[in-house]
Amino acid sequence: MSEPLLTVERLKKYFSITKGIVLARTIGWVKAVDDISFAIPPGETLGLVGESGCGKTTTAFLVLQLYTPTSGVIRLDGVDINNFEGQERAVYRRSVQAVFQDPYSSLNPRMRVHDIIAEPLVVNTKMTKGDVADRVKEVISQVGLPPESPSLFPHEFSGGQRQRVALARALALAPKLIVLDEPVSGLDVSVKAQVMNLLKDLQQRLGTAFLLVAHNLADVRYMSHCVAVMYLGKIVESAAGEELFTRPLHPYTQALLSAALPSHPGVQRKEIVLSGEVPGPVNVPPGCRFHPRCFKAMERCSEEEPSLEAVHSQHRVACHLYSGAGQ
């Protein structure tokens, strides 16, 4: 088992709710991410799934250092990234890049594609103009865009092509990890397939790891080596490869899988209907966060919060149904 590339330990991010403009008082906390831990092996994909308000996007931002954690550690190659200053921060930037969801918002409409892709290089390295131009051409061909692309503007490209430009920009610094925040959600079906295949191919060729944040379970199954399910700021279940899909243990995971759209009209599935809606991250239920909506809730669930424990090998669950069932 190789050393993981990125480890996240007991990560928390609380946003304070303040009242007043001049003398602001904190009256509450939004616990967007509340004590999560996971690891991404080099060259593999971790899929982070959950519905709105679960904290997956916040987690992605924390990994990208766009937010500072309230507590907890993020390690890259074993080194705590919070202690990075100046130069080291630049090194981190070169190792971790991102592609976001909306292809129409992630490219500056006033910049040519060449400048968009070159920007990370210009800001973080001292490469000469010629070297930068060569690298831009290199990544352009890696993502399968036509060679005349660098001189064009974003509005001359379709949605799928824009995502390729965004991907090219993310690859420019040859990062070890790319955070993908719903990278294919806004794309047409056939284009989606192209981009997902491209991502898989690039991972094979370049050995880049991916943190894939998505809500579509079928996409996640296609792309990920391991999957973690989040609910209200916590990881409720995580497992490697197919395990999560073939043997879902946590009731929420089971509900999610039962709600996913079928791939054939003949698919018979027992549908699990969850009562109520996701409570906002401000009013977190006591004990297990999922217990008010859980169809297998026990008395213990409203009193004690279950911890994420390994049930067997890589499969971890945070649920009282399985507490103490570890190896």
Binding site: N197, L261, V273
Partner: protein
């Protein structure tokens, strides 16, 4: 007997740069109590088709030819005044974004009641009771208390239910749903689709579901029509489309979708991009991207519709 029958519908947009044939000779029918899925990617013309049925095509678009027969009446031949009696009352449409479908400055009670006021002329307490009943019907909890609340006080899933109530207020017989679950979470989407199915069974609604997602088709539809570049290229019952797709586009599309039930080794995908509909060249519009093209396909004409066994029709030169 089909409740809605569309024959030869053609809608074009007249731009300075040329003509966009958004809907080109489209024909299909929907029976009472059944759901037809209109499947296609962006630019296929599916949304314009649904707008054409309700005669809500924005300028510079115009419906050029065809008939839309609803319960024996050709909607395209009516005057605007007569058409308004049908819209909202007999035929209704749920749009994609619940945030912009609801007016933020009116309470949900007002918005649900608007159609009732116009078509059924109810007022005061009678109106309010009907509205509350409708809200309960679409599953809004504590409807009596929330009828005066505003859209921003509801979550996305709830808002989409309110939109459903608005559309169903006058008990229409035909409902068009244009990608209504795109912005919803997975579990909320399931609940919403189940709600629509429920309502359909109870009211014997005929539904036209416009979507790009085959999962929705698998869950909701009885019949399917696949659109590409403004034309319907294949039409069949839902099982037939999944088990025996005939058109190369349909086949390619189905193998571009990952599955949640089993591991897919490699998605196939389709090369290139959906075509722009501006000044479309003659002949089969899928030809440039088709993985199964043969010599027959380079004809200057678009393949005619061939009807095969079991109500399965396709427009492809391979079957002529």
């Amino acid at each position: 007997m089909a409740l809605l029958e569309v024959r030869g519908l053609t809608t074009c947009f007249f731009l300075r740069r040329g003509i966009v044939q958004a809907v080109n000779d489209v024909s299909f029918s929907v029976n009472t109590g059944e759901t037809l899925g209109l499947v296609g990617e962006s630019g296929s013309g599916k949304s314009i088709t649904s707008l054409s049925i309700l005669r809500l095509v924005p300028a510079p678009g115009r419906i050029l030819s065809g008939t839309v027969t609803f319960d024996g009446v050709d909607l395209l031949a009516l005057s605007e005044k007569e058409m308004r009696k049908y819209r909202g009352c007999q035929l209704s449409m749920i749009l994609q974004d619940p945030l912009s479908s609801l007016n933020p400055v009116f309470s949900i009670g007002d918005q649900v009641g608007e159609g009732i006021v116009i078509h059924d002329n109810l007022k005061g307490n009678q109106l309010r009771q009907r509205v509350v009943k409708l809200l309960r019907w679409v599953g809004i909890p504590a409807a009596e208390a929330r009828v005066d609340d505003y859209p921003h006080q509801f979550s996305g899933g709830m808002r989409q239910r309110v939109v459903g109530a608005v559309c169903l207020a006058c008990r229409p017989r035909f409902l068009i749903a244009d990608e209504p679950t795109t912005s919803l979470d997975v579990t909320i989407q399931m609940q919403y689709l189940n709600l629509l199915k429920d309502i359909q069974k109870r009211e014997q609604l005929a539904m036209l579901f416009v979507t790009h997602d085959f999962g929705i088709v698998a869950k909701m539809c009885d019949h399917v029509a696949v659109m590409y570049a403004g034309r319907i290229v294949e039409r069949a019952e839902v099982r037939a489309i999944f088990d025996r797709p005939l058109h190369p586009y349909t086949k390619a599309l189905m193998s571009s979708v990952p599955k949640v039930e089993e591991r897919v080794e490699r998605l196939v995908g389709i090369e290139g991009q959906p075509p722009t509909l501006l000044n479309l060249p003659p002949g089969c519009s899928f030809l440039p991207r088709c993985p199964e093209k043969t010599a027959k396909c380079s004809s200057e004409e678009f393949p005619p519709e061939i009807e095969l066994a079991g109500n399965h029709s396709v427009r492809c030169w391979h079957y002529v």
